[in-house]
Point group: C2
Chain length 508, copies 2
């Protein structure tokens, strides 16, 4: 069993951070957990960046096979931690065992999927355009192209996915797969979980004989380390999942560097669900039941949580809300990821409760002050259009039903929406013509469109887009889940008239 | 013969711009050409953007075949303008007939290449990941992915490529190929050429039966129209070739919009050329001769002009400079693209002449004040490292030789360089080992690496990268030349559990 030390993991070694101590909190009980974590200072950021830059030179030139083996070794090392990882994550996040075991499987599967992607090598985008010395008026040169990695990547652990989007999660896996060293800024909500995974990565780095600067893990209870990392000239891209405020702050830093860098921030989304008339007529109760289940899953702490429901006003929608209002009071309160997230959720729900244009539909069971109590509200399309603040994400199991007069008004609501991660439509056969007319608009609104489902399950797939127009993400041209995520960390280079020996091996 | 009117071309119609008049200038003589152009005002930008947004909805849903035919029709319409286009461009830009005829061929070829790319459809990045209802613990959904266009694109005509990177140049061709309507802000250095090409595009739009908002052309002698375009919420990406000041100003506007958008700005590059000892020893005179030819090509007004030459100090380098100093005085002065570019070039050369650490090597023949007189300088690596301003691009036929003590110091100079479009190395057999060690560093410095050549010829190829790390371009992950350029204007969308009828046709 590994012992959690609270030490920084800087390029193969460990050291005590001296920039302020903090402790993890047992999410469900609000009590401090033993072992304190030392925050990193500017020297630690400097050291991690310097080492990452040095490591970049050799790491990016590893063979595809050895890079794939390295990713697989990380997966094995995480598996080998065993139950300590799950039990520590349960304490720190309040998430139940089943969910965390599933998330571990997903994290490991994700690393292995990227190993496969690396072996296949398609991401290199190799292109060959041979010379033609006989071409007139000028001879055609030999041109070859491949993608190369951008450089060291700063990854910010996400509070809501302590494994799948933290230290060795999707951002780290895709950056390492691309050939970029990674410096992770651990989320302070689960530092112990982060250290356990960080040590697993560190062991895999050592085991693979890679330069130790290939990976570092830094702690910080505040924002300083993250800001310094994003400003460091050796960091060449950023992966972030978190709040809009945090994401836009990093975008601002990144765009004002001497050399601006891309920030891939996944920030906020209320994931509209549209209930079409036919579906609502024939299955209002069924949809209400699956909607409630999706709304409260993991205390609603998914980026893809269905926070907004659009439908035409009338008896069928009444059936839907009545059903939801029957089911919701049976839903137990669940611990939220941190006391501050619980408080922010509580405040967000209170804002809706006090909103003059919003009516409560139902609430879940009351819990402790560390729990999230599910809450469903409703409003009219006119009010929604008048009050932009009703688009603000309330992170947790809160939903808002928007009653629209007709499809034209629903369309108007869609036009007023900000960029989203997902949009789901619920339709029956008879709705298909109407739905079809909406699809082009929905494509512009979100990165993933679903039919008769909810976005809360995010498949790690070659065909997944977990991204969407700003402000859902900083860069709607990218996805943070699925194999396409690797392209975020690459850029093309063209080689003209290179003799065989000078070419990178893949281009010979 | 078309008559140039000076009118704005807004979405299928034309109108007189009322926001100030300006005239084109005969570049070689500095005299005003007849016909004045009316500048666009805020209403014109609004109208063009509104129409582009409306057009987007239908244009992006055109079939690949009809989009390809449209691109081919633009090519035909440009060809059909005939000699008026060449003679007008000659007057406005001072570029010689041969160059402009070549550029026209390139522009037409580029449109046809994108038509081919559209037909092949690879840019759609179609991905299919079928459902597996039997998967445990949860059924696997059906996922399909494709790229969709971003939306209307603002394109800024470039002064130095009045055809290939202006109204129907690479940015426009790739944006239209992607499915994005285009609004061009014509470069005020060649408004007549722009109008001729703009009318050709407008005819192709009409001929193809497309929504007229698919294309607009706006004039403005200043910056207002460009700034308003980039700030317009319906514009979703920007293509720009020009100065660093102009490009970074647009980046700043784009990043502070309510919804930030990508700016693909190709800004500045001094395109280092490295002469390795073996090559210098065996071919100093030959290389000097091809270098001088590349330096003065088109009065040096290429983004890829070789403005910096790095080599080890010694007798072989002396042979090189002596040869260049013999050849350069034979080079005639050539008219520059505009009087203000001629003045800026003259000022830049004067700054080098007056620089305490820079020595003149040779100059070309003296011309008029509208001409650029080629100029070659030298300095030491130590001075170059001390004076960052020696990295500033002097747009035109000015070059700076940097004498390095040894390879280690040359390496130091490389480390101090900003991002570039191209780096060329000149090597012999015996230099290959040394050169090989440099390649990884050069990959990080530029988007295209050349062996024994110069970057001034930019092949329109699937394997071309005309891009590079900031500040060479705003976004080093992209290219503005070659088929890969289309990817700048696309983003992925994932479709989950879509019934056949609702899927976009390509994904059925």
């Amino acid at each position: 069993m590994t012992t959690i030390t609270g030490n920084l993991l800087v390029a193969g070694s460990e050291k005590r951070g001296t920039n302020g101590d903090f402790q993890a909190i047992e999410a469900a009980a609000g009590v401090l957990l033993p072992v304190s974590f030392g925050g990193a200072n500017a020297d630690d950021v400097e050291e991690a960046s310097r080492q990452a830059w040095t490591a970049f030179n050799s790491y990016r030139q590893t063979t595809l096979e050895s890079r794939a083996l390295f990713l697989e070794a990380i997966a094995e090392e995480i598996e080998a931690i065993g139950d300590e990882l799950i039990s520590r994550a349960m304490l720190e996040t309040g998430l139940p065992r089943g969910r965390l075991e599933g998330e571990r499987a997903r994290t490991i599967g994700q690393l292995r999927l990227f190993a496969k992607e690396v072996r296949e090598g398609r991401f290199q985008e190799l292109r060959f355009d041979p010379a033609d010395p006989t071409r007139k008026p000028v001879a055609k040169p030999d041109l070859r192209l491949r993608n190369i990695p951008l450089g060291p990547v700063a990854v910010f652990g996400a509070s809501n996915f302590p494994l799948a989007f933290s230290v060795a999660g999707g951002d780290t896996a895709s950056a390492l797969a691309a050939g970029c060293p990674v410096i992770v800024k651990a989320h302070s909500a689960h530092p112990g979980t982060s250290e356990l995974v960080g040590r697993a990565v560190q062991r895999a780095v050592a085991g693979a004989g890679l330069h130790p600067g290939t990976f570092s893990l830094l702690f910080d209870a505040g924002f300083e380390v993250g800001q310094k990392l994003v400003a460091d000239p050796r960091i060449r891209a950023v992966g972030f999942t978190g709040s809009r405020r945090g994401g836009t702050a990093l975008m601002e830093i990144a765009s004002h560097r001497k050399q601006p860098i891309p920030v891939y921030a996944e920030m906020s989304s209320i994931n509209p669900v549209i209930l079409f008339p036919g579906a609502l007529k024939s299955r209002a109760r069924d949809i209400a039941s699956t909607f409630v289940a999706s709304l409260v899953l993991g205390a609603g702490q998914f980026c893809t949580n269905p926070g907004l429901l659009l439908a035409i006003d009338g008896g069928d929608l009444d059936t839907f809300t009545t059903t939801a209002a029957e089911l919701l009071p049976e839903v137990g309160a669940q611990p939220m990821l941190t006391p501050s997230i619980a408080k922010a959720y509580c405040d967000g729900v209170a804002r809706l409760e006090q909103h003059p244009k919003v009516k409560p539909v139902a609430s879940g069971k009351v819990g402790t002050k560390y729990d999230g109590r599910a809450a469903l509200f409703e409003t009219t399309a006119a009010a929604f259009l008048d009050h932009h603040e009703l688009q603000d994400e309330v992170f947790g199991a809160a939903g808002l039903i928007v009653r629209c007069r007709d499809m034209a008004q629903l369309d108007e609501v869609l036009d007023a929406l900000e960029g989203q991660l997902t949009v789901a439509i619920h339709i029956d056969e008879g709705d298909q013509d109407a739905a079809r007319r909406f699809v082009p608009k929905l494509e512009l609104l979100a990165g993933r469109l679903l039919v008769n489902g909810f976005g809360t399950g995010v498949e790690v797939s070659p065909a997944m887009v977990h991204g969407g127009p700003y402000p859902a993400t900083a860069d709607g041209r990218s996805t943070s889940v699925g194999t396409l995520a690797i392209y975020r960390f690459l850029r093309p280079v063209s080689y003209q008239d290179f003799p065989e020996r000078l070419l990178p091996e893949a281009l010979r």
